[in-house]
């Protein structure tokens, strides 16, 4: 693990600023707080715009691209507070978390100028274009193909599990730009930025077992992508995706998805009477420990260190924890009378969403492999 990163007084002040911002929101937005798993499903453009006005989107984007030139640790503090409050941050989440860093590192100047200021303004939303119907954990097996044509590429294939794809403006698709080489499966992959309103793009809903629509299937049928929307180098897609995943895996969303359920349950006397202090204390300690661990990774990203293994460590423990929390509270709330309907509805959402926690962003089984490789066992 990276070394401990302390929270400076300035970061503590920023934390208080976010808490105050949330408490003083206009009533129409304040009622949108308090959800479970809101970074995936809480899509609220008004909230996103309000955050952008405070300068809390695109925080780490340089000023010349419309961002705020702040540190990873500052962004960490802000996102932690938003997630802990169950704020609806899904609209800008992917764009802010991983598209902006990816474009800054690998994008062409034209693409940066086109997208980064819009992302920072809270006006441009992204999905993820990695998985496919036949490529879940085995990402290197993607079959979406891009052919060279005059001035760019034509892309055909199907992407799956694109959260918010029906509402987003674009995604970065991982595609094959060279045929599969069985001796080096990671070669021949590239990343292309695709606008979801381009001709030939068809976004189809995938409804979750809880009846919600956040996932989509995105069918690409001879979609033209101009040259300047190739992200990074042709053939470097695997390396780029792997570095993107460090940002995707280590953040506070990997342990705070059910934080509001914890809050609500502890404030609900009918649940609290079924809860033993030793159990709530254990969960509190784990929460505080994960908060330290996740911040250590943010500090490490700030210093520009490799964080893939430490990010995997956080995600394995964090996603298990947030699911265990939902399970424990659901069992404590049970059928007890007097349990507030709000606790029950959050608990329902928690236990139904739970299977996704340890799947998305790389299953915990894949991540254990990443950890084992870091230990030199593979």
């Amino acid at each position: 693990m990276p070394t401990h990163t302390d929270e400076s007084a300035a970061l503590g002040t920023l934390r208080q600023e976010v808490r105050e911002f949330l408490m003083t929101l206009p009533a129409t937005l304040r009622t949108e707080l308090g959800g479970v798993d809101t970074w995936l499903s809480g899509w609220n453009i008004d909230f996103t715009r309000a955050l952008a006005e405070r300068g809390w989107i695109g925080m780490t984007i340089p000023r010349e691209y419309g961002g705020h030139a702040r540190t990873h640790l500052e962004r960490f503090v802000v996102t932690e507070e938003l997630l802990a409050a169950g704020a609806p941050v899904a609209a800008h989440w992917i764009a802010d978390r991983q598209v902006a860093p990816t474009l800054l590192r690998f994008g062409t100047e034209e693409v940066r100028r086109e997208f980064l200021p819009e992302i920072a303004a809270g006006r441009c939303y992204f999905g993820i274009g990695m998985s496919e119907p036949d490529s879940g954990s085995d990402l290197a097996s993607v079959r979406t193909k891009a052919h060279r044509v005059d001035g760019g590429w034509t892309v055909s294939g199907t992407k799956l599990w694109t959260s918010g794809g029906h509402l987003a403006h674009a995604f970065i698709a991982l595609v094959r730009t060279a045929p599969l080489d069985a001796s080096d499966r990671h070669a021949g992959l590239s990343q292309l930025l695709v606008r979801l309103d381009d001709p030939g793009v068809d976004v189809r809903p995938v409804i979750s077992a809880g009846g919600h629509h956040h996932f989509n299937e995105v069918v690409l049928d001879d979609v033209f992508v101009p040259d300047h929307r190739l992200v990074g180098e042709e053939g470097d897609g695997w390396m780029q995706v792997t570095s993107e995943l460090s940002f995707e895996r280590s953040g506070p969303e990997r342990f705070l998805s059910t934080m509001q359920l914890f809050e609500q349950a502890m404030a609900d006397p009918a649940v609290a009477e079924n809860v033993a202090d030793v159990d709530s204390g254990r969960q509190l300690a784990r929460l505080a420990g994960l908060h330290e661990m996740s911040r250590a990774v943010a500090g490490s990203l700030q210093r520009g260190e490799e964080a893939d293994v430490s990010a995997a460590l956080v995600k394995v423990l964090g996603t298990t924890f947030e699911g265990d929390l939902a399970e424990w509270i659901d069992q404590s709330a049970g059928s007890a009378s007097g349990v507030e309907s709000r606790t029950k509805s959050l608990a329902t959402r928690g236990v139904i969403q739970r299977p996704g926690f340890t799947l998305r962003g790389g299953t915990n089984e894949i991540l254990r492999g990443v950890i084992a490789r870091g230990l030199g066992m593979r």
Binding site: M1, T3, H4, T5, D6, R15, E80, A84, A85, M259, F262, E263, M266, A272, V275, A276, D277, V278, D279, S280, G281, R282, L284, A285, R286, L287, A288, G289, L290, H291, E292, M293, A296, S310, L313, V316, L317, E365, L367, R368, G369, I371, A372, L375, G376, M377, R378
Partner: protein, 354 residues
């Protein structure tokens, strides 16, 4: 910065690893004695009383350096009374304005009848500092072991543990009422740091063993089921380390008297305690039968963990205090977790120590 001088770290490592794990296998049978030669080296290097201020003959270092030494010693299974001498006894003598030096010591927190059921290293050290009751006050005295009754009690690892009894009134120097709680916190954090040192070495032993040991024609580390067991050990150890680092960093600044100090110690103890379950179970699982014997060094690390997690408050003791705080707090769970309202925890701890 939160890191210590790498040269100092190397010096620490050289001393405690002057005997390897294999050289220590007899500990598993004969028990653990204070290692006079190593202690003498530590004294010469000023490492025996690292955190004691320089004007009192110590090295004036902080909890950061102390934690590094404790981790190194625990990882080498060099079980020395460092927590007891430096973090507890020397600190307590300074609190009482009594003279102190770098001889090995321990602390016995006595009840009103003059008894303490479990004192580490009591039969091995040169002085025993007692925190006793006298005329309704807490007093401190630096005693010769011959002035107290020492009855060895069994420990799981063979680490020396004794029941200590003092008859008659202790003629001591009065100290603050909160001293006992401070001893609890200091000891608890010391044990948490030692535990992390042992767990980090266990991760190394697991990687080593599974790389070397071949079954079914392949090294064990090539089996995914084995990789999963070791990955979970590494993850729990990393979480424990993060929680302990947070408490140590706080202690380095506040000497455990800060607004969030006690809360951070409790979090560290809970994370370390629960981590130890996974670490011990999985480590023995990947080592197979050999790891359960005195012929293998694994037990030199796992058995002390089983002792340490029950000392200075057990796992459930710290869990319960944290849970009671949640019940009592007027703030949110999140505010508590991020340390904003830990005055609530201090109140719960005070009540529990009463």
């Amino acid at each position: 910065m939160n890191t210590i001088d790498p040269d100092l770290l190397q010096v620490m490592r050289d001393v405690v690893r002057s005997r390897g794990l294999i050289d220590r296998l007899d500990q598993g049978v004969d028990g653990i004695r204070l290692e006079g030669a190593q202690w003498h080296q530590l004294q010469e290097l000023g490492l025996a009383t690292l955190t004691l201020p320089e004007e009192h003959g110590g090295s004036g270092a902080s909890w950061l350096e102390s934690a590094a030494l404790l981790r190194e010693a625990a990882a080498a299974a060099a079980h020395l009374p460092l927590v007891e001498t430096d973090l507890l006894a020397a600190w307590l003598l300074r609190e009482a304005d009594l003279p102190v030096d770098d001889r090995p010591r321990t602390v016995a927190v006595l009840d009103e009848s003059g008894h303490s059921p479990l004192v580490p290293w009591a039969g091995e050290v040169e002085r025993i500092v007692v925190l006793a009751h006298a005329d309704g006050r807490r007093v401190v005295a630096d005693l010769d072991p011959s002035d107290v009754d020492i009855e060895p009690v069994a420990s799981r690892s063979g680490l020396p543990r004794s029941s200590v009894r003092v008859t008659g009134t202790v003629d001591g120097t009065p100290v603050d009422d909160g001293t006992e709680t401070q001893i609890l916190l200091r000891g608890a954090l010391g044990r948490a740091v030692q535990s992390v040192g042992a767990m980090e070495r266990i991760v190394e032993l697991c990687v080593e063993h599974t790389t070397v040991r071949v079954q079914f024609g392949r090294p064990l580390c090539k089996f995914q089921s084995v990789q999963n067991l070791v990955s979970d050990i590494a993850a729990e150890t990393a979480l424990a380390r993060s929680a302990v680092d947070a408490a140590v960093t706080d202690a380095a600044i506040t000497d455990l008297a800060g607004p969030s100090s006690a809360f951070r110690v409790a979090v560290a103890r809970s994370c370390v305690g629960h981590a130890s379950s996974t670490v011990i179970r999985n480590a023995h699982q990947v080592h197979g039968a050999i790891g359960t014997t005195v012929e293998h060094p694994l037990q030199l690390l796992t058995l002390p963990l089983l002792d340490w997690r029950n000392e200075f408050g057990g796992v459930r003791f710290w869990d319960r205090l944290l849970g009671s705080t949640l019940r009592a707090t007027s703030g949110s769970v999140w505010e508590l977790a991020t340390g904003a309202t830990s005055a609530e925890f201090d109140k719960v701890l005070m009540e529990a120590s009463r």
